[in-house]
Structure formats: C-alpha cells, structure tokens
Amino acid sequence: MTPFTVSSLTSTVLRSPSALVDHPDPRHALATFGPRLLAIGLCGMALFGLVVGSYRGGVQNLYAALKLPLLLLVPVVVGLPAVRALHAACDVEAPHARLALAAVVGMARTGVLAAACGPVLWLLYSIGIDYHLAILCMAGALALVGMPGLATVVRSLPAGGRHRGVASLLSLVLLGSIGAQTGWLLRPFIARPRAEVSFIRPIESDVFSSLSTAFASARGRYDGWDAQAEGFLARERDQEAQP
C-alpha cells in the first residue's frame, strides 16, 4: 500500500525503508514523499534536541532543538556528492534520484529513532548525571540512531563495482568528519551547569585538534591547546575586529 499519511510514512520508514528506496520511480517517490520525509527527520531531531537541552533547561531547550536538525542535515547535504562520486569511481553508479531518496529516508529514520531515544535520555538527565557523562550519553545515542540511517544509504547503492568497500569506508570517514566538525561548530548542545548560555560559541580551531588535545591530556600530556579561530568564516571576522 502506498503510504500517504505521515503516520503510515513513519511506519514504513521504520519497518521497511527499502519499500521507499526501491520504488520503481525514484524521482516520483522523491517528489511525493521527500518533503514529508525531511520534515519527519528534522522534527524528530528537534524533539531529541529538546531533551538534550533539558539538561540545562530554560532557553537551552530551544537552542538545542534548533541546532540538532542542522547536525543531521549539514553532513548529508555536504557529503552526499562525495559519496556518489567516490562510488562512481569504483563503478558503482547510483542514480542521483535514488541516492537522494535514500538519504532523506535515512534522515527520517535517524530522526524518528532519535526522538524515540528521547525519553531514555531525559530519564538519565533527570537523575542529575555528570556533565561529561551527559555529553557521552548524547553522543552515544546519536551514534546509535545514526547507524540505521547510514545503513539505509549504503544499502541503496547498486550491487557490483570494484573495490566498493574502499569507497564505502572513505564515505564513512568523510561523513563522520563532516558530522564531527558540524557538531563542533554548533556546540554547545548541553550547556555546562555554571556556564553562560549561548546559542553558538565562536569558532575555535577544529574538532580534530580538540580531540587530539583531549587524547594527549588523557595520556598525561598537557601541552595546552591553541584555540585560534580558523577557516575563512572566523579569520575574516577576527581581521575586522582588529584595529
């Protein structure tokens, strides 16, 4: 049965996403279901954001609800052309419409599952867990709900090709890097209990240097961390700010 209502579409996304992805006319499916799937995914992430923001409460609820859908959208929009190109180089020619359809279905799947994880996360936050543990729980939940969405995209790719495993691995690395950097840019999602609440912090370095500094610190090496703003987004603002 062709799903037309939001509830039947949500059910199809969770139970059998391949029914949508394997539609004989992907362009028609994208035209018919694409906007609703996008809305389902982004609303699901917004609900998850409300829960995440509830750790601090107040206006942080709204900030996190606005930012978490971007955390889902930006890596897909930025990384999908690279995924397609890398697989095409390995003779895995995925039609653009089919890949885009799989991406929106995957996003909807991730969004709905994230919303489903909301109550569990809220329960943990309500008992007053430590700030760092709260962040780890959020990251763990996102990783958990992101897997089914990613699997939807990978399964949409046609069979065959040469060294497709390499292309898939590179795609995973790319999407993960973009996702991590997007999360770094949009932080904080969970505001520290005594910190000032802000929508977004100024751009400081990048997620990779932050992670490497954190690893070094965990091994007892405290060399400090250069939080200098990088990238043309931050650099030009700094130049304008200087006298």
Partner: protein
C-alpha cells in the same frame, strides 16, 4: 553558521557564499512551483536544494500513474540513445518534450480513473444506468491504456530507427515517426470519446 552571520558582521566572502546558496534555493523553489511539484517541495528546495536536485534538474517528473515506471524507463532509454556520441550528428526530434509531457498527462488520467473505479462500490441491485456508466468507464480506460502501451512500443521502435538512421542516413524518417506518436497520443481522447458515443 547562520547565527554567526547574525551575531557579527559577516565578511563579503561569507555573504557571497550564503547569498549564492540562497539564490540557488530560490531558483529551485521557483522551478518546483512552475512544474507543479507542490508547495512542500518548493519550501524544501529553498533550504536543502542539493537533496532535491534530481527533481529540479529533470523536465518530467511522473505523478505515479500505473504506467509511470515504464514511461520513465522508456524515456530514459530514448534519451540515452539520443545522447549517444554516435547520435550527435543528428538533431534531436522536435517536440519530444511535448510527447513525454502528453504521455505523463495521459498516465495521470489513468491513475485518476483507477482511483475512481476503486472508490465506486456498486450495490447489489444497482440501477442499470450506474452499472452501464461504470462499464463504459472500464472500456474507455482499457482503450486508453492500450493506446499508451502502443505509444511506449513506438518509443522503443523510435530508438531502433535512430540507430538505423546513424547507419543508413537521412532516409529513415525519425521525425515523422515522432509526429505519428504525437498524433496517436492526441487521438487517445478522441478514440475514447468515440467509443462512448457509439455505445450510447
């Protein structure tokens, strides 16, 4: 990033890139509206047009009639043949877009009729007029579907004629073949109407 742009004075480069993204989004929304893809698709194109590019980049998006997948496959195969480097020495057939649009419109009408037939429930002792009208609708539907099937077969033959023309030369009437298909599709409505009048 939008917050950063709002909180501090953004540079010219950032403004330019954001403006370019928004401009493409606006163009995409306009295209989606003109192609009757719906308000939701147009709004989606504003924000995430990279994901909806397959809809904006194609001139024909089927609306899910019973023959839509076959029409899409036949059109794609024909366009692939026309795009073949060996076929570049020939001009593309005129009014191919019109033929494809007419095919999808006819398919939409079939889909509407199918929905109508499925929704009509004939009671046990139905008046003869209602049963007769429904029977006429079934007949017209079958006639239209048969004509569409014939046009799809004609598209396949058109591909073969294009190949033949690339070998033999301009003696093969590709354009005339296309005109015949257009005329056949235009006659679909007239044929169905004629059947109804004859049975009345």
């Amino acid at each position: 990033m939008i917050a950063l742009a709002l909180s501090d004075a953004p540079s010219g480069l950032v403004l330019g890139l954001l403006g370019a993204y928004a401009s493409v989004g606006v163009v995409g929304a306009v295209i989606a509206t003109r192609r009757s893809l719906g308000l939701a698709t147009a709004l989606g194109a504003l924000v995430c047009w990279p994901l909806l590019l397959p809809l904006l980049g194609t001139r024909h998006v089927s609306t899910g009639g019973p023959l839509a997948p076959r029409i899409a496959a036949a059109v794609e195969a024909l366009c692939t043949t026309l795009d073949d480097p060996a076929a570049t020495s020939m001009e593309g057939p005129e009014d191919l877009d019109g033929l494809i649009a007419a095919l999808y419109r006819a398919d939409e009408r079939l889909a509407m009729v199918d929905r109508l037939i499925a929704s009509v429930e004939l009671p046990e002792h139905a008046p003869s007029g209602l049963a007769q009208s429904l029977s006429e609708l079934h007949r017209a539907r079958s006639t239209t579907a048969a004509e569409l099937e014939a046009v799809l077969e004609g598209l396949a033959q058109l591909r073969i004629q294009i190949g033949l023309r690339s070998l033999v030369g301009h003696g093969v009437p590709v354009r005339e073949r296309l005109r015949d298909l257009r005329a056949r599709l235009a006659a679909v409505d007239e044929l169905a109407a004629l059947d109804l009048r004859n049975d009345a």
